[in-house]
Subunit: 450 residues, 2 copies
Amino acid sequence: MGKTQRQLHLNLFIMNVGHHEAAWRYKGTEPERITDLKHYQRLAQTAEAAKFDSVFLADGLAINKHVKHGAFVGLEPFTLLSALAAVTEHIGLIGTVSTTYNEPFHVARKFASLDHISNGRAGWNIVTSGSIHEAHNFNRDTHPEHAKRYERAKEFLDVTTALWDSWQDDALIIDRDSGVFADPQKVGPISHNGEHFQVRGPLNIPRPPQGYPVLVQAGSSDDGKEFAAQYAEAIFTAQQTLVEAQQFYGDVKGRLLRYGRTPDQLLILPGICPIIGVTESEAKEKEQEINELTVPEYGLNQLSNMLGVDLYTYPLDGPLPELPKLEDINGNKSRFQLVVDLAEREQLTIRQLLHRLAGGRGHRTYAGTATQIADQLEEWFVSDGADGFNVMPPYLPGGLDEFAESVIPELQRRGLFRTEYEGNTLRGNLGLQRPNHPVIPAATAAAISQ
Amino acid sequence: MGKTQRQLHLNLFIMNVGHHEAAWRYKGTEPERITDLKHYQRLAQTAEAAKFDSVFLADGLAINKHVKHGAFVGLEPFTLLSALAAVTEHIGLIGTVSTTYNEPFHVARKFASLDHISNGRAGWNIVTSGSIHEAHNFNRDTHPEHAKRYERAKEFLDVTTALWDSWQDDALIIDRDSGVFADPQKVGPISHNGEHFQVRGPLNIPRPPQGYPVLVQAGSSDDGKEFAAQYAEAIFTAQQTLVEAQQFYGDVKGRLLRYGRTPDQLLILPGICPIIGVTESEAKEKEQEINELTVPEYGLNQLSNMLGVDLYTYPLDGPLPELPKLEDINGNKSRFQLVVDLAEREQLTIRQLLHRLAGGRGHRTYAGTATQIADQLEEWFVSDGADGFNVMPPYLPGGLDEFAESVIPELQRRGLFRTEYEGNTLRGNLGLQRPNHPVIPAATAAAISQ
């Protein structure tokens, strides 16, 4: 595998003290600090020094995990990303926000604000929420059906992009002598009147430096892929094998044409949970050591939710029982399919499956040396399986430090990864265009701004 | 006026480049930086060096001001306060959030997050929104009626406080050996099922360091005062004269008893827009100079909205026309009354009234030397008119620098204001109790957390 001009992109997926469900019990982590800003500040600054494109925070609007054995509660992503904007300069800041339990005016405004305070480093990971527990925190008895959620998500995106465009880029005049602050012809209402939303606009903040925040998508169902092909500029996806990754890559890139887009306008970033050792055997020992710290009760709860079946009554060392059909899953459909395929392909017992999922919750886990991990990333990258990776350290900060000190220099030696940031915005880092501004008819604009 | 042990509290009300509507045209301001984090960082750090209790950001969910002549659009408060949390250590961070166009789960979570990342410095200025323009951005044709908004606000507070209490203070166990992260008996649902909200809970973040953020209220109508007496720990209020301030102070403090509260549990902080000169005549010249930079069209729009009447057709140098009755005002009722009283008391023409309102939008403006301003603050403070002040510099950063360099040292010399922070939390600075945690019945708690 030789050098190449094409550069891969790396996103750091930050998860409290690590992605592995037993990270908080592993040596060197500090679970007492899951709400301590300084912990996250150190992670973001380490990632920036290593030239990661971005940091990313997932989100859910309910506790749908075991609080007894799991360390996955914590800070609201927007609060944390805004704080990190103040102590970093180059790295992108990507936050998850659900379109199912939010209003587009709030969301457009928050991302515009984050983009302004970070000078163009904001990204939005668009999700539709996967759990009935979230519905229960927002006045509802039922969680909307999968396809309905994506319908709402599309209208949500139409509204938010229109709101970001409700100020033209050159709307601010700031002429002290004449007393004209903004040109009312260049700030206009959007007057959206749709099935889910009625929003007048304009937004109460000027257009974001990046035009729009970078739009990211993380669902890999058929609805999810189609949504991504229409709107997204990056996808965080879970793929266990190169063949599956290539199929997904080809499928999604192929869909872009329908929306008048080119393959380079959407970056595909599979997740990777790297367990790094100085030797391969040290890495495997680490993997075993941290897997042995898992509490089966915790993993069973997670897996039962994922598969839509109560697994507590089945023997841990036996196979999976009969499962619901894909069409009956109203949560994360693509993750359901991935787990079913994984268990079948590798003929795993429930216990073995729990261990395979403990690090990345369905994302690929790989234990090896820095060179082996770089080989894996390079192979997927040059074989049309990925444009880069969503890096999910099993434990933090240690797993990030190891990756930054060993894997990144190896990728740089191979000419696959930057040694300096290309630009000052997340779009600049990712090689994505800034969206042009559509012209607002002057008469409409004048109506609201006078 | 002698020294006193009782200390006054000072909040810095940050408004872009200053509170005066012509601040952006005044010498020394940089309106190009209204979305620049570094501008606000400098303000917060100056305020912290001067030992202000807190900084505060107002908010509205629509453009209801002239964009052509006004510089009052900008960052969303939460984004900005979170960023400021990362670059300050002692100063409180108070943000406005409307209970009319938000969901309690989101709001409880965001304030809990801000309180965690700031180590206990968050405050929530609770508003019910005052404008039909906000309704139009949130799927509605009409803005709910004043009393209805306060009903919703009360239920909103019941839900958010229950959510903050859904984790007991000692719920986190973090026992690596046994694998117990949190005690499921100490994390429980709230199962709120009310008229406006159905929220299951628990919150997905541990209880805030302060228990609850400091609860602030800014409406001064009868509904507003009653709401404050029940829930608030500080009030930002607009009062033009000492007599009015004393009436308000006595009225609100008197209402606390009904809710089993004592007068020291609610701090009353009237606004003051100080125009500071080395001599009194220099201060008056400054006031005139900045008033002359106003654009009458802008002020007329503001005043027309406030009074519920179109003032454009009336002569600027004549009196106010006949106005609607107080009961027909569905925006800010107390501000309507204040402006009517001010115009009558001082027999002001429309133009004179516009100038009187240009600095503080109804809050008191006072032009004088640092000593004179300190005299005014002391007089209100020792005469049962105020527990401190909401300081609203007419232009920023200059007006803050002048206040910090001249008025604060004078207040310190008089023994009225701290020279070091008392504590590390906003409650500590304000001398407010941390709310105790009510005990969750264990059976209820176990139901959700298993």
